[in-house]
Symmetry: C2
Subunit: 382 residues, 2 copies
Amino acid sequence: MSFIATPQSMHFDEPLPLQGGGSIHDYDLAFETYGQLNADKSNAVLVCHALNASHHVAGVYEGQPKSEGWWDNMIGPGKPVDTNRFFVIGVNNLGSCFGSTGPMHPHPDTGRIYGADFPVVTVEDWVDAQARLLDRLGVARLAAVLGGSLGGMQALSWSLRHPQRMRHAVVVASAPNLNAENIAFNEVARRAIVTDPDFHGGHFYEHGVVPARGLRIARMIGHITYLSDDVMNQKFGRQLREGLDLKYSTQDVEFQIESYLRYQGEKFSSYFDANTYLLITRALDYFDPARAHGGDLTEALSVARARFLLVSFTTDWRFAPARSREIVKSLLENNRDVSYAEIDAPHGHDAFLLDDARYMNVMRSYFDGIAEEDQPAGKEAA
Amino acid sequence: MSFIATPQSMHFDEPLPLQGGGSIHDYDLAFETYGQLNADKSNAVLVCHALNASHHVAGVYEGQPKSEGWWDNMIGPGKPVDTNRFFVIGVNNLGSCFGSTGPMHPHPDTGRIYGADFPVVTVEDWVDAQARLLDRLGVARLAAVLGGSLGGMQALSWSLRHPQRMRHAVVVASAPNLNAENIAFNEVARRAIVTDPDFHGGHFYEHGVVPARGLRIARMIGHITYLSDDVMNQKFGRQLREGLDLKYSTQDVEFQIESYLRYQGEKFSSYFDANTYLLITRALDYFDPARAHGGDLTEALSVARARFLLVSFTTDWRFAPARSREIVKSLLENNRDVSYAEIDAPHGHDAFLLDDARYMNVMRSYFDGIAEEDQPAGKEAA
């Protein structure tokens, strides 16, 4: 069993300006910390989460032995990101449904549940909100920002918005932006939710329903894109769910893969907020640091000062290695210090959450290096 | 403009036994023919269709200059499958919504619209129904059976169910069965349709509605899988639909790819029958000639007597070249005569419907060879 984690919350009165215009005020951020901040406050690691995750990154909750955080294999005492050496901060993003202020909460001015009126938040907004949390925690400069997938986009964005506040950016299974196919899958998922009659224009809370049909479809699509073709064939193949005989039915479950997807969809629809799903997929769509530079990623990354580790997985077709290599190339063109590991793993995009000895070794070795740095403040901020 | 095509229909009283049990009787098959059957009736080519297609394979309808058949670039006078030399037969499959008897028609015994009670039909059932149509047309033996995607599965199935009735099987962009990922996409599409409140258990006709939301989602998913990543990036990339400014909205169209998918979904939902969609995707799922042979495709194909052309496209991730190669390998292990072309085309699965000089040349050359065969009946049926 892992160590005991304790969720915390921080309230922010002051308005946070948002990239899409306007601002949000009187919001809370849920977070957790593991390990101890050292005397010179140089060992803090911020962990950013992806779509279906939260501030509960590692450890278990008191009395809930199966409540491991989503990156518990990566982070903890003696683990690759060793909490005996690092002070790790997990933070739940604005718009989430897992603790921080989101569409399920009341608007502070009107008292009405935000619903679809929750402002559109971007990766950059999340990063700025995280920076304010660090101010409050007394962390002026991070040892590293770490994230996978959408979390990797936040780590990359950190290096551009707050280049002096971090020594390292660790960007796992990520991309400098979504391609057309990625956006397409997000759009289908959103349409499934928005066209569900129970969505009620995003104000379904008032009707005592949730757009469960749409959420199920969204999650099923997601699951297909998280897995590799190989792993699906290996795990499910054409295996039937029951016995050896076909039932010849268009609506009953016939194959194991159908049963798996229906189960995943059902489970997800029982706890995930539909408006949060829209917000998070949109944040993915919008992220594109090169956009303000006419599509020139090298120019966009020129402000970065951190040292980088990028990791990708060969069978990840959602965020393929080629996308990580674009980031590596642009960083090298800026003469940044970059390490890159392309892990030959069969698990598709999901690989970034799974145990793979080579992956874990790369991460351990990189974070050991960070911990052992002789770190006079500001040295790399050349 | 292409030549004028004329749809025809044939009624069948006698029950057709179905693979899933039971039978169907008093059904119609819509079909078209192009070119002339020669004196020794040796120049007939049967064309089998895929998901969203019909018996209208080539030509245009009188007075409708834009009504080209779905494979009009392939089939016609002087085209790769030259109707000056071949008698080409296009047939609409049972369960379709384009002319042959399907879920939108009344059950002959009860007069009630079939709806979800239309029997589950398989590739093998379609092949048997096509064989009966050929009996009526006086075609004892085909020069070739030709199909792409699901149509390719029918061509392969023909070579197993009626090995003596054909000289050639031309199997384009197809597979010996669906893999787990293929089934998964079909299942998500079906769930979107079936869980649409307007589906009414498949008897929506009685309610004067159609499950348009579900059909839209199904079609959007389909379109993503028909295209390659490359072609999507090239055609749409991250291009915005309007101007240069982001709107920051979770529900409005922001990117061109979203607009394209919504349009395709909308169009499809206005004409395609939901029950037909369920039936056809299920026929895809079920097709697996190796199943009755413990998964041994070589054993399954041992009864084939035809000569084969297989064609695949490098960027087709729905029916990848590796799947065509499985068929090639198994045919070679049976000492069959096989030609195989792997076309380096950027268009994904859609490539089989598009003009590509190398692809068209392969097809033309193969069909020229068929036309020039000195063909004493039964020669290849060794």
